[in-house]
């Protein structure tokens, strides 16, 4: 990977990690778990 590609990848990884942390802080993971556990859409 070129240096530029490295920087882009690292910045994007940080951005996504930040998004994930923000989502976790407001309870998104619980929402995901709840939806995935309660709904059953075979019909």
């Amino acid at each position: 990977m070129s240096k530029r590609a490295w920087i882009v990848a690292a910045m994007l990884a940080l951005l996504f990690a930040g998004l994930m942390a923000f989502g976790l802080s407001r309870g998104d993971a619980g929402y995901v778990r709840q939806n995935a556990s309660e709904n059953f859409c075979f019909s």
Partner: protein, 301 residues
Amino acid sequence: MKSVRPEIGKWGRRFPAQILSLVAFNGYFWRGPGKWFCVPVLNCYACPVGTISCPIGSLTAFALARRIPFYVLGFLGVIGVAVGRAFCGWACPFGLLQDLLYRIRSFKFRLPRAANALKYALLVVLVLGLPLILSGGKRAGSEDRITGEQSGALDYCSLVCPAGTLEGGVPVLAASAEVRAQATWRTWSKIGIAVGILGLTVLARRSFCRALCPLGALMALTSRVSMMQLHTEDKLCTRCQRCVKVCPTYARHLPFKEFKTEATAECVLCLDCVRNCPEKGALSARLCGKTISVSEGRIRE
């Protein structure tokens, strides 16, 4: 581009990895606390037998509630930047099924490259657009404006997802006469769609991944900047096109981008090209600049 005849090639360690993930992600075999995680493989989202959450089902749920899915996008983004679409090639149970179905002897054809764009349209329309527009921000118990049912499940992707039908729908229908009696037109249309898609994958390799998988579309957005990429050595490559022939998604094609490090949206990093390359050291996979797999030149055409 010169047309080449596709070949299946050697599977290597990918097949055991796919089997392992099939066992790990389906509650028919075991259950754990994995519903918190949206692992980027196509796995029945709403079905109780799924051990993890399907990212597509989760995104739809967020769209229905008109919430921005920070956690889901962040989680998928981190994985995408780290390993691109490697989960599609190594871990997706539906990918394994497609790989197996393509081994059935039959007439084969290649989907046109333009078909790749269809999955992006499905992602935008089915997964995000329709739930966002039609739900009115409601979730459980709200009336579905398309089907008119008080089902609480407005997941439009669940109306067509073949993975959900196969993993959740068909086994439950097969096991219970009571459930079969409750089946609606939606149930049978889903089964018809699944059969049609599976039939297509017998004829066209990884056709669902290439043209129809909204999760593949989502992961493809970050795979171009992924830290895991293929690298072709200009001096060692003889342009035999063996890698082009064995590529399940037809991501590789001549010219090899001036023989530098390559990253394409369609590459699922299955490394079949590396395993089947007849020239030692000509093709390699690199993670964070470190070589993790290199062609050994054992296989000759």
